[in-house]
């Protein structure tokens, strides 16, 4: 037997101590690069839609065929979709590479398991309902220095469901990729279905961003921003 007493460093340092460590350097760097690329994706996504603000279901669709729905936007041809595509792909590369780094390191360092995976107790109906009610009443969580069950589930859904699906529906629109893996488009019911689903996934991600920012403001904008920039912040309440 080894004589060395190994004392594991707590994942999160003592709550309530000013300047306690909130986010690792890697999480902070990937967060801001990702924020920048998400902004690029959103702006260029709108630019691309402006060239044809109509959505269809199935393989094909265009002027002269019935659409699923039309966005009340003016059609702008020749320009916005050109730089829009270039920016969309540049930003997508940044987002995917940064996201991969974040996910791989999150698995290796057990960041996801420790901070984002809800415990079985949290998933019970009673505890889940309590957390929902707390949110609805804008009541501060009892446990301050840890994400609550709704936050955990939201982050996990965004990271492991919405983003991968957005990437896959994006790839489904590539004629080269569907020539190698046709299933990537056929599982969505065709090229135009994939485009429509890509649009709705992007909307959900944008909605998540709005809620995320609202929660940052509710939780204390200055302290949350300081936490994500310097890594340290006085721990008060945990909303975002």
């Amino acid at each position: 037997m080894s004589e060395i007493a190994y004392v594991p460093r707590p994942a999160i340092q003592t709550s309530g101590v000013p300047g306690s460590r909130r986010h690792s350097t890697l999480v902070r760097i990937t967060h801001w690069i990702f924020a920048l690329s998400f902004f690029g994706l959103a702006v260029s996504g709108v630019a691309i839609i402006l060239a044809h603000p109509h959505f269809y279901w199935g393989e094909t669709g265009g002027t002269g065929t019935p659409s699923l729905f039309d966005l009340p936007l003016t059609t702008m041809l020749g320009g916005p979709s050109g730089w829009g595509r270039s920016l969309h792909f540049l930003a997508a590369w940044m987002a995917v590479l940064t996201g991969l780094l974040y996910v791989v390191s999150g698995i290796v360092t057990q960041h996801f398991r420790r901070r984002l995976l809800p415990s079985l107790a949290d998933l019970s109906w009673h505890s889940f309902r309590a957390s929902v009610l707390d949110h609805l009443r804008f009541r501060r969580p009892v446990v301050e220095d840890s994400y609550n069950v709704i936050q955990r589930l939201s982050y996990l859904t965004v990271i492991f469901l919405l983003f991968p699906l957005t990437i896959i529906t994006g790839l489904a629109m590539s004629p080269v990729i569907t020539s190698v893996i046709p299933q990537v488009v056929t599982i969505f019911g065709g090229h135009q279905s994939a485009r429509t689903i890509h649009f709705f996934l992007a909307d959900l991600l944008f909605l998540f961003l709005l809620v995320h920012i609202a929660m940052v403001i509710l939780a204390g904008f200055a302290s949350r921003m300081r936490a994500m920039i310097t890594g340290r912040a006085p721990v008060r309440k945990e909303l975002a």
């Binding site: 044809h52 265009g62 002269g64 590539s174 990729i177």
Partner: protein, 253 residues
Amino acid sequence: MTNRVSRRKLITRGLAAAAGASGLVYAARLASRYGLIPPDSGGIWGVGETLTYATQRVLMSHHSLAREFHPSEISRVIPVSGEPPVTGPFQRLLSGGFADWRLTVDGMVARPSTFSLDEIKRFPSRSQITHQACEEGWSFIAEWTGVPLSYVLNLVGVSPQAKFVVFFPFDDFWDSLDLPDALHPQTLLAYGLNGQEISPDHGAPLRLRVARQLGYKSIKFLSHIKVTDTLKNIGTGLGSASPDTGYSWFAGI
């Protein structure tokens, strides 16, 4: 202590940066040698274009076939994008039923040639029902008939040094393909659309069909094909008229 640490940090970081930089230079040289750098690789957008093009050329098979469809899936409406040229030469050839039209194939080839429409129609033909998406977002399925470009290129004998095939139409939208796409079995010089001759709106008398790229690469109203090893001295040197207006040269997406 701080001093020593920062000096050590400085040295290790300097070494890492130097290794990274020389690694990048080496990667760029390798990429260029294996044809992984697109002609519009300059500027801020060029980073994304290069990553997309190089990744697809490395990971994707050069000969994977675009999806083909059942005749019942052919779209009823084929939107027209780009009107036929109103220039004198094209209108004259059109009024003569393209009897005097010739396709010139030259550049880095063993036997520069010209072909009439009838000669091209006598070459072995291929028909394929494929999906074409416009960069704007709309798409349609149609049956295209024509001679595989690879057949014509083999006929004229492409030089081993050649890297690109350039296409000049009667309008301004000249474009080019790398050899993997030029020699791809579904890349056609098409004269038939849904069992009929291609109408002027859709690119008569002969248009390019690139099944694995967005619609704007399938240029219409072909007049001249040139095989080359560099795109630098053609137009603004970006490989196509598209990058000048903001669209990428490679549209495999």
